[in-house]
């Protein structure tokens, strides 16, 4: 019995250590974001002397984080809408209809699960760059690079394999009676899909939205590559990298930590609101890109 108690203590110590190693640094960043610059030269464990909100104002206005936040909202929302509009009908047909080429497409999308967007970001960049050169010769100006909509389109396209895989596995599990009922009532294929099938897929759709929201919001390599113009629009994580590099040279730590808080706050709020759905949903998907 004694060894059992010892083991239980050991388990609690391990659990607490990991929890502390996660909570303390994150909380520290929150506290550091309201510290004045001179406070960073003393003991790192000292609490902030006041609530120096100017860090946030500087990050929002001077460092451009406000504008980057808006860009991130636009890109993430556009990419999510595009993704759902494109992936839902495709996943539905791939799951429910027999047609020529279906198996090839299913295999192709499944193979796409193994291709990470960062493996192919350079050819995507060059493809868009060549497209811009072509358009410049034709019309005198290109619009493919440094374009928020194109970035959103790339996000949506590269999320297709995972999203279609997840939605398809749900659609496959439904009995065919649902559609037959729709057809007997005289509803078209399109109407049956939108009015009967999609509402039933709501839990899967929410999972898709949650996971892709996090991946689009946090993504920075593709954004860094495709929005490369100096002084052009940037998304939040790329703006944060610039802020981190710039502020370390100028040793203005407070503004940098305020920037960190601005990037992670939306995801943390979302997480607190839906953490149950998120951790339940991931077992449906089972894989992550």
């Amino acid at each position: 019995m004694n060894s059992n108690k010892l083991f239980k203590t050991f388990v609690y110590i391990c659990l607490l250590l990991l929890a502390i190693s996660i909570l303390v640094p994150v909380a520290w960043v929150f506290l550091a974001s309201v510290k004045e610059n001179k406070e960073f030269y003393g003991n790192p464990w000292s609490l902030p002397q006041g609530f120096y909100f100017k860090n946030f104002l500087d990050a929002w206005n001077k460092a451009g984080m406000g504008e980057y936040m808006l860009n991130s909202v636009i890109v993430t929302a556009t990419a999510l809408v595009l993704l759902l509009v494109i992936a839902l009908p495709a996943a539905y047909c791939l799951a429910r209809f027999n047609f020529r080429g279906r198996n090839i497409l299913n295999t192709a999308f499944a193979a796409g699960l193994f291709i990470n967007v960062n493996y192919i970001v350079v050819p995507i960049f060059l493809m868009l760059k060549d497209g811009d050169t072509f358009l410049k010769n034709l019309f005198g100006g290109g619009f493919l690079l440094n374009n928020l909509f194109v970035l959103a389109l790339v996000y949506a396209s590269t999320a297709l394999p995972f999203t279609i895989y997840l939605l398809r596995s749900y659609f496959v599990s439904l009995p065919f009676e649902f559609e037959e009922a729709g057809y007997i009532d005289g509803a078209s294929y399109f109407k049956t899909m939108v009015k009967i099938i999609f509402p039933m897929a709501r839990p899967s759709i929410i999972t898709v939205i949650l996971f892709n929201f996090l991946s689009f919001w946090n993504e920075y390599i593709v954004s860094l590559t495709l929005l490369s113009a100096a002084g052009g629009s940037k998304t939040l994580p790329v703006g944060l990298i610039n802020l981190m590099q710039g502020q370390q040279a100028k040793a203005q730590y407070g503004v940098m930590y305020a920037g960190l808080v601005l990037v992670m706050l939306p995801t943390l709020i979302l997480y607190v609101a839906v953490q149950k759905k998120l951790t339940e949903g991931m077992t449906v998907g089972g894989v992550k890109g």
């Binding site: 990470n116 996090l214 995801t267 951790t279």
Partner: protein, 294 residues
């Protein structure tokens, strides 16, 4: 007949956009990685010259690339082993032991997974800072003398990155295994307990074999994702520095693109493609076991 036609056009309309975008932004760029590795193309000379295997010939003699390969392999092995060991341990603790605050631990452990790698690199720059960092000051408190370890020095930088990667990944895989572990019927543990099997034996003889299918799938995806995550962490935390000591293959590839050597960059891309496919096939084969039912 008319119905058949309507059905076909409906299917075409539904499937075409996804297929088109998938081919433009995934299939074509993937083929292009392989094609371009045989060409020489620079940032300021848009013409392509066929150079055969020359890019690869230069690549295998490039010391920076060799360091990048070593770092990638080290990170894959170290991060995978530590993450899986810890994730399985914590998942077993939270499902098998009646721990108080069970759900709070689960919620907290998952937090790093929802943060951007850029945010994590910012958090870890506060931890690893030499003068005022959390880690050094903690070590100073416990050892009683001033500690100033250079966590991002050439010797330690890869280990520091590995720690950050494990920190980020544990929660996700733990939650994954908790789900499959809680599906294992309680009666198996009860009868094993009556037979006198201790907790460790139960874990290795009941839990692990029964969730093996899940471990296998996640392992394959984890390896691919580690190659990618290593790049994200290196790019945000060190940009490959100091002196290329923390370079990984993907960050090397990206660096060559920034230097304007597109063909050369894609030769490194081909290496990482083939390497990751070969590795996941190998892992898939090596972890093959008879599927157990319960």
């Amino acid at each position: 007949m008319k119905k058949h036609k309507r059905q076909n056009s409906f299917i075409a309309l539904c499937v075409a956009p996804a297929t088109l975008l998938f081919f433009i932004f995934m299939v074509y760029p993937t083929i292009d990685v392989f094609r371009m590795s045989f060409f020489e193309r620079g940032a300021y000379s848009p013409t392509e010259n066929y150079v055969g295997l020359q890019n690869f010939g230069v690549l295998i003699k490039d010391t920076r690339f060799i360091v990048a390969c070593q770092n990638t392999i080290f990170l894959i092995v170290a991060v995978t082993i530590v993450t899986f060991a810890l994730a399985l341990f914590f998942a077993a603790c939270l499902t098998r032991e009646k721990v108080r605050g069970n759900s709070i631990f689960r919620v907290v452990f998952y937090i790093p997974n929802i943060l951007s790698v850029v945010v994590i690199s910012g958090v870890f720059s506060a931890i690893y800072d030499t003068k005022n960092g959390l880690l050094n000051s903690l070590l100073s408190i416990f050892s009683g003398k001033a500690v100033s370890v250079l966590w991002k020095s050439e010797e330690l930088v890869v280990i520091s990155i590995a720690i950050a990667m494990v920190w980020q990944a544990i929660g996700y895989y733990m939650v994954m295994y908790m789900a499959s572990m809680s599906a294992v019927p309680e009666s198996l543990y009860e009868s094993a307990g009556l037979d006198g099997a201790d907790k460790l034996t139960q874990f290795f003889n009941i839990t692990l074999p029964l969730i093996w299918t899940n471990i296998r799938t996640t392992l394959t995806f984890f390896i691919i994702s580690t190659i990618n995550m290593a790049f994200l962490f290196v790019k945000a935390m060190t940009s490959g520095g100091p002196n290329g000591a923390s370079e990984v293959v993907l960050s090397f590839m990206y660096g060559q693109k920034d230097a304007g050597l597109y063909g050369y960059s894609m030769a490194a891309g081909v290496v990482i493609f083939l390497f990751s496919f070969a590795l996941s096939a190998l892992v898939n084969k090596a972890t093959e076991r008879e599927v157990l039912q319960y």
